[in-house]
Subunit: 324 residues, 2 copies
């Protein structure tokens, strides 16, 4: 039953925590990241290197990276918006950089006060820096608002494909597509990933999809169908309440893992251990709402992981882990 | 952009109301069903014909059917568990009967105290009655627990295919597959619908999928991919809170309509008018929780229906409709 597996890239410690006004203490971040690693996650976006005055929640990036580097087999990722951030992240020793580049011209100007062309120049500088200081580090460009933009509305698919080509020409190792605003639908996900793959081949990166209108898992399925094998997700959907108006909730890692494992597609993640990570998240941010339907409903009767393992119990909440 | 359309079969007035302890007053049911029809729904399961002592919420079935028969272009469906119910439903004048038949042997005995073979006999009797009294009425068998059972766990796909063949041999017009317990995954949905279609061809009926673990829309997409064109759904997810442990929440009609329309697949349903129906539902059951993420988030910026129509506003909650 086991098919080709997928890589779940956990973005909660960056994308999630960045969206919460409170700051999770550094020790709690370390404990949470360790618990996510213990649950089987092998790529975690642990922080972002941005000025602390803009995002005080991320001020301890270097310390968090140092901890994560001690976890065996883990790819430690960080988000950087520019060269200065890249310098700090490379100095901290990350394995992979991710840089958001807006596909929407209006969003790019509003968000980083740069045109898309200027962001591609920025990328070129980051690639040069990486080549000089840490050639083993991988660089991903995340094409944000690839499926639509709350400012300008539709984003032309031709422009997304053009931008994917530009960032690859600038030297990044992969370009992923992000549904930053929760506007994607499965037909569009299939079409756009196919077009981008036709343009940049195996430099096509992760699908970063949101659950704003409940389509998160359907969109992940659509992306899987056209060959995507890396999926960003956030434990408990942290990062924008998925049930509130205007929310930009990330796909819930627990639900995504359940879907793939139930389909016979290995993720390497253990859902009971994910509940321990959920406890660690909640211990670090008491009272913060976390989401997920599989954590609530539990596993299905007779559930087996893609590799044939059977859980000791189908209950998840009873496994001693808290949930909203 | 418009592809082949789909038929959304609204089950809220039966499946939803049957799961709520309180009884919606008959006048409120009439108003809700009219509002659903006004929103463009063209098949509605309006009630079930079961003994009133078992389900007092459904005691006004004949009166509700009489009202629904006055709505132009509407296929009026009712659930019947046995011949006695079928007699009452046919007398009331329904256009279509739906009869649940458990694919799980254990569930069949627990639920109706009959073996699956005895239920097939019951179906044969209902078909004979239909042929005699109202030959224009269509009969659907809904194969419940087709994707798994909370009592026995896995249900063998061979047995589901066998049962589909049996019910067709008994004379029903179509056999649908129901994920009664919210255990389906997209790979299984594709595989089982394909196997059933290989066995009974165009007598393959609706997909009735639940959102218990958040996979409702992904499973609908999977069913669509293998040719299913009729989908059961419930306004506001009525019928088992989809966010509670052990819940059996139906797929939310509003979210399903959004997904298909965004994909360019016409449903004929208007989402602003669905919010008026949501108001009617809430007026009839004050305080009852209703769900749906598209109602909360609104339509996407620049949204157009599959037929090209543009909504006057992308907001849904601001359109004067209430929601949880």
């Amino acid at each position: 039953m086991t098919s080709c597996g997928v890589l779940i890239s956990e973005v909660g410690p960056r994308d999630g925590l960045q969206s919460v006004a409170r700051t999770m203490p550094t020790a709690a971040k370390r404990a949470w990241i360790s618990a996510l690693h213990a649950a089987g996650l092998r790529e975690i976006e642990v922080g972002s290197f941005v000025p602390a005055r803009l995002l005080p929640q991320m001020a301890d990036g270097a310390e968090v990276v140092r901890h994560a580097l001690g976890l065996p087999g883990l790819t430690v990722m960080a988000l950087v918006p520019n060269q200065r951030g890249a310098e700090a992240a490379l100095a901290a020793g990350v394995h992979k950089l991710t840089i958001p580049v807006s596909a929407s011209a209006a969003h790019s100007l509003a968000n980083v006060r740069k045109t898309r062309e200027q962001m591609v120049d920025e990328l070129r500088g980051i690639v040069a820096l990486r080549n000089e200081r840490a050639p083993q580090v991988r660089i991903e460009a995340g094409l944000s608002t690839a499926f639509g933009c709350t400012i300008q509305g539709a984003v032309a698919e031709d422009e997304v494909v053009w931008l994917a080509e530009q960032v690859v020409a600038a030297g990044v190792d992969e370009a992923g597509l992000s549904d930053t605003t929760g506007m994607a639908n499965p037909a569009q996900v299939r079409r756009l990933f196919q077009r981008v793959r036709a343009a940049i081949g195996d430099k096509t990166g992760a699908a970063h999809l949101h659950n704003t209108r409940g389509l998160g898992l359907a969109n992940c399925l659509a992306a899987y169908d056209v060959g995507v094998r890396t999926f960003d997700a956030s434990q408990g959907g942290l990062g924008g309440c998925p049930y509130a108006p205007g929310a930009s909730g990330n796909v819930v890692t627990e639900d995504l893992v359940f879907m793939f494992e139930a389909m016979g597609i290995a993720t390497g993640v253990d859902l009971h251990k994910m509940m321990l990570a959920r406890q660690a998240l909640q211990a670090g941010l008491p009272g913060e709402p976390v989401y997920g339907m599989t954590p609530q409903a539990g596993l299905t009767r007779g559930f087996a992981y893609a590799d044939g393992r059977r859980p000791a119990t189908e209950a998840l909440l009873d496994a001693g882990a808290g949930a909203a």
